[in-house]
């Protein structure tokens, strides 16, 4: 056991003196369980989060023989994963809220309250969240096992007069509703912007218009079908999410992934990241009205979509990931050709970056706009390039390496300003690193099989994780007999970053709002699931 983890575990034993039970998590060398009574829960979580600076990964709730609440934390490579667990009797549904102290857990607890009907005592704000209050009966808890997710729910007629709460009460305060339908092709989200004069004082996104109940509809299906669902959480990160599911199932079933498949997975994952970042750059240029730059970036995005299709058969990489490897082999010459084309894209991208960096009217819209400090980013548990733009430089590929990332040389860039321009630079810098990885890996893909022999499923549960293009994605899967899914929990980077979006958008001028939104590169679909 690495010294760092041992030290933490020793200190847990000393501090809570037997009130926190320590045990290794099944089937994992890097994860430890810390089990405690509900009364101890927030203290333990807060100690990990605030004192030891572990990142909060997410909350996984399961309805087993009793309720199990699992608050997942991770540190650097030596620290590994710590799962803080507490249990409730089946008839019990009250638990003290952790998010009073660990703000990153705020939305996780709200979601569980809505979907499982558990009550987090002391939580500052519960209510209208995943299930919209104007359409759903109080007391419906669709994630409970007794709820049949295959049947349509009979509703009361939606309340047409439902109004959001207005908080700002100053003279001249105005509530501006925006969405969920837009002028351009945009995912469905509704904003309540509370403004006084020019300034947006309060931003409340109302999400989950695209809530498709993915965690629920996965239950009772075969593990292979969960891959189809994972790919369709958010199409722009389809491969990343399917890879996380694969890694969770491979962990449960003790499958070895052949070296060729591991390398190709990195190749494709970085390809996807590059495409995502190019699209994010395009979005930022478009939001500022810089049409030629947006067109240049959109040409590159389409080039990469076409290249995905030529390489894998699908423009969004659907159907490529599978347990134990990939469904098709990408032969060496195809990889080399793709890597060469990617380098061409990279050259055009860096020319675009140079031109943008001297377009002062463009920079004026981004610099010192939409500011998020490192402290705020940490408290809210922001992830990915958005967190790294504020100086929080954690990246799953380095913190908890998977698929062989620890064998590859690359950097995780970060910035410190935390404004719109820092986020734009992050997308450019990370794109360049992805190109570097694609070149390195593409040159020397190990030979051999691209897929392990037929999978034999075993019952069990495990976590799979990746650094998706938008940041850390965690997938928890519990398999029953014959590879049937008992529980599927999806924790996405957009969920974390939507939570913190208001930090950036509040107290800026109204006309900055769409620009700040673009610099966050959020996905509604990835958030809503």
């Amino acid at each position: 056991m690495p010294a760092e983890r041992k030290q933490v575990l020793d200190e847990v034993a000393a501090r809570w003196n037997g009130r926190v039970q320590l045990s290794p998590e099944d089937g994992s060398e890097s994860a430890y369980r810390l089990e405690c009574e509900p009364a101890e829960l927030s203290e333990v979580c807060n100690w990990l989060f605030s004192d030891l600076h572990y990142s909060f990964g997410g909350l996984v709730v399961e309805q087993l023989t009793r309720w199990e609440l699992r608050y997942v934390f991770y540190g650097g490579p030596g620290a590994g994963w710590l799962h803080v667990l507490t249990h409730l009797a089946p008839s019990d549904y009250r638990v003290p809220s952790v998010s009073r102290l660990v703000h990153a857990a705020d939305w996780h607890e709200r979601e569980v309250e809505d979907l499982f009907g558990l009550v987090f005592e002391g939580h500052p704000r519960l209510g209208d969240f995943v299930l919209h209050d104007d359409a759903w009966h109080e007391g419906v808890a669709p994630m409970r096992k007794s709820f049949d997710g295959r049947q349509p729910v009979t509703h009361r007629a939606p309340d047409q007069n439902w109004k959001p709460r207005q908080i700002v009460e100053e003279a001249g305060a105005f509530l501006m509703p925006i969405g969920p339908i837009y002028a351009t092709a945009t995912g469905p989200v509704h904003f309540q912007l509370e403004t006084v004069g020019e300034d947006v004082i309060r931003v409340q996104p109302r999400l989950f218009y695209a809530y498709r109940g993915l965690e629920k509809i996965a239950e009772g299906r075969r593990a292979e079908d969960v891959l189809l669902i994972a790919e369709r959480i958010s199409a722009t990160s389809a491969f990343a999410h399917s890879l996380a599911v694969c890694q969770a199932v491979e962990r449960i079933c003790h499958m070895e992934v052949p070296p060729r498949a591991r390398a190709l997975r990195i190749f494709v994952a970085e390809f996807e990241r590059l495409r995502h970042h190019v699209a994010a750059i395009e979005g930022i240029c478009e939001s500022t009205g810089l049409a030629v730059a947006a067109a240049q970036a959109s040409i590159l995005e389409e080039d990469l979509l076409r290249l995905s299709c030529v390489l894998t058969g699908h423009r969004y990489l659907f159907g490529l990931g599978t347990f134990g490897g990939l469904t098709i082999n990408l032969d060496d010459s195809a990889c080399n050709r793709a890597a060469a084309q990617v380098r061409e894209v990279a050259e055009k991208l860096s020319r675009l970056e140079r031109m943008l960096s001297i377009s002062s009217s463009f920079l004026d819209r981004l610099e010192e706009v939409g500011h998020v400090s490192a402290g705020e980013a940490g408290d809210f548990g922001l992830v990915g390039p958005i967190a790294r733009a504020s100086g929080v430089s954690r990246d799953m590929r380095k913190a908890q390496p998977y698929s062989g990332y620890d064998q590859i040389e690359f950097e995780v860039p970060h910035e410190s300003e935390g404004d719109g321009y820092a986020r734009l630079r992050m997308f450019f810098r990370e794109a360049a690193q992805s190109v570097r990885i694609i070149s390195t890996v593409g040159q020397a893909v190990p030979g051999g099989q691209v897929r392990a022999p037929e999978v034999s499923f075993r019952p069990g549960a495990a976590l799979g994780w990746v650094e998706a293009p938008r940041g850390a994605a965690l997938h928890w899967i519990r398999l029953g007999e014959d590879g049937v899914v008992d529980r599927y929990r999806i924790i996405t980077p957009s969920f974390a970053n939507w939570h913190g979006f208001r930090l950036a958008a509040e107290n800026f001028a109204f006309q900055d709002f769409p620009i700040i939104l673009a610099t966050f590169a959020l996905s509604v679909h990835e958030n809503d699931r």
Binding site: A135, R315, F318, M355
Partner: protein
Amino acid sequence: MSQWVIKGLRTGVKSTRYPRAEETAAGISPGLPTAATLPLEVAQSLVARCPADALELAPAGVDVNLRRCIHCFRCVRGTNSPLGWEHSYEWATAVSGGNDQKRQFGPAFDRSVHILVVDTGDCGACLNEVRQLNNPYYNMHRLGFFLTPTPRHADVLLVVGALTDHMRVPLRKAYDAMPSPKRVVAVGACALSGGIFGRSFMCAGGVAELLPVDVEVPGDPPPPLAILHGLLVAVGRKPPARLHRAVSDSVGNASG
């Protein structure tokens, strides 16, 4: 700012010649499975592999119901007897119920059609492909198609995604606010049949559960040119394709 003007001019014309000529660039479409004549045993095993119930046993082989196909490639990968695959993109079809005269566009719509895009709960793939229609490669403005922010100006309602519970009211309101004549184009397997999200406590299946649909564009997601074809079908500038590929069709046998 002159540097941007020069940059724009240097890039030259990228736009496809479609619909005047066929587009043949690589990677513009993932293609579709085709119906095939097969021995019963093989046909049965392929039908069983399809997670979306898109394959149907036919007397002489397998038929494909494109409304349901989610491009998972399980009927072509990891099997010794793969189904055929065609690399086309003109996939849009007219729904027979939508041939109501009142819903037809007259000549006034030939060169200017305003489109309202509504995402009723997709994964972002169809939405992203719709977004590509504005990139220089597809540039739908050259064909007189424009996105509009308001249903009051919209002639076509383009819907992507399965119909989630929370989008029922916004979708209904948007449709009701559109002036007549108006047409609905449903894009992608989810908007057609619910796709992988199917029917559940949150999804009612396709958009046809709530609104009359005039044109259906299959695919998961349909590539930009298929969506463009759908818009051209909606305004009567291109003939529709067929959605159900049967072994007995000549179309179905033209696999490539």
